[in-house]
Each structure stands twice: as C-alpha cells, then as structure tokens.
Symmetry: C2
Subunit: 327 residues, 2 copies
C-alpha cells in the first residue's frame, strides 16, 4: 500500500543488484533510467532476440511462489538463446501486476536476480503497469556472425539427439497444478525443480555451434518441435520411442504408456533437440562428459517429411501444445 | 473457432507483409521462424532497446478497434526510440488474447502492418498466448555509437523545448473512455487520432542528435518527465505556463485552468521534451520548418533541482501518471 511505480522500480529492480551496470557488463552502454537501454556488440557478433510471455493461470498457478515464477520466466527465454548457440547479454521485463505487494515484489526480484546473476544476463529495462498478472521477458544474446544454430540445417543421415531427459516437466506441471496426488516428499522437490528451474542449456548450445547441423529447444513438446525441425530442414525425422531418455521419477507415478506419451508431447522440458552429421557424432561423448549433461541419440533424419515415431504405442501421436486449440 | 496457434501466427503475422524479411531489411539477419530473431548492426552503431506493455481496460477500452490498439502500441514504443535519436530496426510482439477472433486478429495485424511499414520497423518475432488481453512490444533501433540523446546532458542556461502541442491526448483519453460528452463530429476525429495515433517524433529525434543537450518523450506528463530530466541532468527546470503550446480543440471543451492542467500532467502526448544550449537555438527554426513540426520554447534550465512552474494556476502541481498510486 502506498508504493508508487517509481518506488517499486527503484527499490525492487534498479537497486536490487539485478540491473545492468555498464561498468561491469561490457556490452551494456546504457542501463536502466533513460528512454531506451543501449548495447554495443563487439565486431563480428550477431544479435539474437527472443520474447516469451508467462500468464498467471496459464503458465503458472496464482498461488505460485514469486521467486519460482521469476526464475522460470527468465529460464524459458534463456533456453531460446541456448537453442541458437548464443551467449546472454541482458533482458527486458514487461511486468503487469494487479497490486503492489512488497512480499511478491521482493520474492520476484530476488528470483530474477538469482537467475540473472547465474547466467550473466542482467536487467536492461522494461515497463511496470497495473493489470492481470503477466510477465513478458525479452532476451538479447550474441553469437559470432553466421554461427547461429538454425532449425534448417539438418540433412538426411544426420543423427537426432536430445539433452537431459524428457517428460519430467509435463509430470511436474500436473504436480504443480495439484493434479498429481500422493507424491512422495523426496519427489516433490524433484518435480518442483523440473517445472520452475528448467536448465537453459547455454553452455551446450555454445559447444554445439561447431557440431550440430540443426538445433531447437523443446518448448512445444518433442513431436511438435521435431516437426518444426523437419519442416525447416526439409527432412523426415524418425524417432525410436524405445530410446527416449526418461527420468525414473516418472515411473513411480505413471504407467509406461503415459510416461512415453509425456516424453513425446509435454511442452515444458526446455531440453535441446539437435541433429549431428555422422562424422561428428564422436565429438558428443566428450562433450557430455565435460558438461555433465546426458546426450541421447533418439533417431535419425531421412529423406521425406514429417515425424515418424517407431516402436511407439500409438501411431496417431501428434504433438505440441497449442494455446488456441485443445489437444 | 478452430484456428490453431500456428495458423494464427502464420496467417496474421508471418504472411501479412508485417514480418521482417532479411532480403529487404539490411539489419535483419534472421526473421520469424527460429528460436530467436537475428540482427547485424553496421560498424559504429549502437543498439537501442525499449519495451512497453498495453493492458486492456488500463491503456485502451475493451471496445477499442483492434487496428487502433495496434497502431498506438507500436507508436508509444517508437516514441522511446525517437527520444534517443534512434532509427527503428524492428520489433518483437508478445500478444496475449482471451480468444482467437478472426475479426480482431485481422484488424490488429493490419494496424500493426500500417505502422510497421510507415516507420520502417518490421516484426522480428514474438509470442502468442491465451490470457487477459495485453500487448507487449519491444523495439530495437540504432544510433551512431555515443550519439544517443540522453536525459542527463542538460546544463544551466539551456532552453527547454517541446514538440507539437500538449494535453490533447489527455483530453482524447476522456473522449475515448466515454467521459467527454457532446464532442462535435469534426473534433471526434481529432481526438480519436490524438489518442490512437500519437506521432513518434523519429525524424525530429534524429535531427536533434547534433542539437539537443538532453531529450525524453512525454509519457508520464510534462511535469513528471521534466522532473526526470532535472534529476538526471542535475539542473532545475523552469517552465513558464503561459508558453505551453495548446491545441485549440481543447478550449472548446474545457476551461483555461483545466486545459493548462492537462498540458502539464497528461501522460499520453508522446511529444519530445528537450533542452538546447543557447548557441544552438537558432538551428531549431529551420528544423521546425523543414519537418513541419511546431517546436516551442517553454522554459529554461537553471542551477538547482526539481521543476518550477511559473505563471501557473497552482504552485502545488505535481506531475506524472502512476499506475500504483492515484493522482
């Protein structure tokens, strides 16, 4: 009560250690406080831009912890930079709130600060307004010109890989929404983290610049995103359902068919899906070891189009989350 | 009904002539369709970034024409680029909609296209999701490195100028909200345009790079924004209320005191407020003629702090729109 817009911006965003400081961030020429923020890229660098909006009641429950919401909001944007092989430079925040609760603002800004610091992606500026709670985040990153990992470079014969494991975030969403009763205490933490702290695979994306022929992050579900890759590259993506990397925690709560379905269609994993020419596949083993990230071959690209799932339960599987049509 | 998220993005945004095309936009290296958009700046250019969110029921009425909303949403962002002396490169759109009405989407995308084409600022990418209607726009622009118009450069003795006229958008807001009865037909169009088509002063901003010592756009109201300038520059801004440029349309509907109050506090004009060293003031006359834009001297900077309004009605005037505290 009584906090003004300027008070909020100053206390929770400008002076919270979250804001970009031109003295400490080489690319930032102008931080918060003018009509625009400013960036200066080093010669030969290309700017990468992405934006994602999180809506209360759609992407997170109204009861969610504000620090959790903040970390997730930044992570899903950073995942788009990872999918291009880009290094983060900073982000802009469009925050709409129904009221100015210090508890919420404090938690939210601390959560943002934790992720911004961890990933070297400070706040450059933005906008605070009153309305139904939504968080619009827009990230900037850089990649050497011409080195960005596109969706369009896969060729017939390339192997198809994913990082991490698949489907856990889909199960975690059920848990977060209160639709998965009886979760054991130890698993609650795993599922909470799977939903609110997806790991943006930034280091992996950078390492894949010289290895992958096509890359994207799994935000629409494996089948939906594999279809994007197939269409952009002009290939058919064949996926062997038996090879899908699954987190053991899923087996405790779901039967095998439901687990595979989540792994194929759940939209919140934010792992990288990428293709690698056969003569570079040997580079991945060392990369997986060096970065301590599982990299699993789940299929192969062929001449043709679309996505074919082999050894799956249901040949009619179609994938992806659609905000405007029910599955 | 039945339109999928991908259908909507494809029909109304990718293929509507709105989307950036690397073949036609020199700075765009990667348009819509991958995890990120890409920009490559020419050597010696600095990137300028700004973001504004418009919320239904706060920034526009639910009944507003979608093309009007779109033009206004882009214009208020472009105004921030104008205030830095930057040239637009492109924008990202975070669109949240309660439903997928073809009428609304068609109008909205056509309105966006009109402004994007007019100002050379194509759509680079973004995000479509379901939820309470909000429009988050984030613009990119460029300015030669070190030439951006900051808020902090005003010095004692500099003259204070505004472009266009002040307060009309504040009156227009009352009209748009249905709170100003009895508006004559000819004036309805003027007020409609004042609210939905604020003119981003892009050409003026670029011309002011070599002339102005400090610049911002009037989005919080003249007094509020003059206070920002005073604080950033470490000067006192003296405003002579008799010099405020007022649109004659206001006199028809309001008494003189109300007109001056709107001119001092209304937050929607998006004119430029700028300061000019005395030895450069003579350059403004030719600029005003060349660009056909009124430039009015409304005061002077002095040693001191804050904003002082002379010859006004109310020495207690405080300015600016605050989303979290009533005026």
């Amino acid at each position: 009560v009584g906090l003004s817009e300027l008070d909020i911006i100053s206390r929770y965003f400008n002076q919270s250690g979250l804001a970009a400081d031109p003295l400490h961030h080489a690319a930032v020429s102008l931080g918060i406080g003018d009509d625009c923020a400013g960036l200066r890229l080093a010669a030969g660098q290309e700017l990468m831009l992405s934006m994602d909006v999180l809506v209360e009641g759609v992407h997170f429950p109204a009861s969610a912890n504000p620090a959790d919401i903040a970390r997730r909001a930044l992570a899903v944007n950073l995942s788009d930079l990872a999918a291009m092989g880009a290094q983060p430079l900073g982000f802009m925040l469009g925050l709409t709130l129904p009221d100015a609760q210090p508890y919420w603002l404090e938690g939210f800004s601390q959560g943002l600060k934790a992720s911004a610091t961890r990933y070297g992606c400070p706040l450059l500026g933005g906008n605070l307004t009153r309305g139904p709670r939504q968080i619009a985040i827009q990230v900037q990153g850089q990649v050497p010109a011409g080195m960005a990992l596109l969706r369009s470079g896969a060729r017939a014969g390339d192997k198809v890989f994913v990082s991490g494991s698949l489907g856990t975030a889909g199960l975690a969403l059920q848990y977060v929404l209160g639709e998965l009763p009886g979760v054991q205490l130890a698993d609650q933490a795993i599922l909470h983290q799977a939903f609110y702290d997806p790991e943006p695979r930034l280091a992996l994306g950078i390492a894949l610049r010289d290895i992958a022929s096509a890359t994207l992050d799994i935000s629409d579900g494996l089948l939906g995103d594999a279809a994007h890759l197939a269409r952009s590259s002009g290939v058919q993506v064949g996926i062997d359902a038996r090879l899908l990397p699954l987190d053991p925690v899923m087996m405790v709560y779901l039967d095998a068919g439901s687990v595979r379905k989540l792994a194929l269609t759940a939209g919140d994993d934010y792992e990288l899906l990428f293709t690698v020419p056969v003569d570079k596949v040997h580079l991945l083993e060392q990369l997986a070891l060096a970065q301590q990230v599982p990299l699993t071959c789940i299929g192969v690209c062929r001449a043709g189009e679309g996505v074919v799932v082999e050894h799956g339960d249901d040949p009619e599987q179609v994938g992806g989350y659609d905000h405007f049509r029910s599955r």
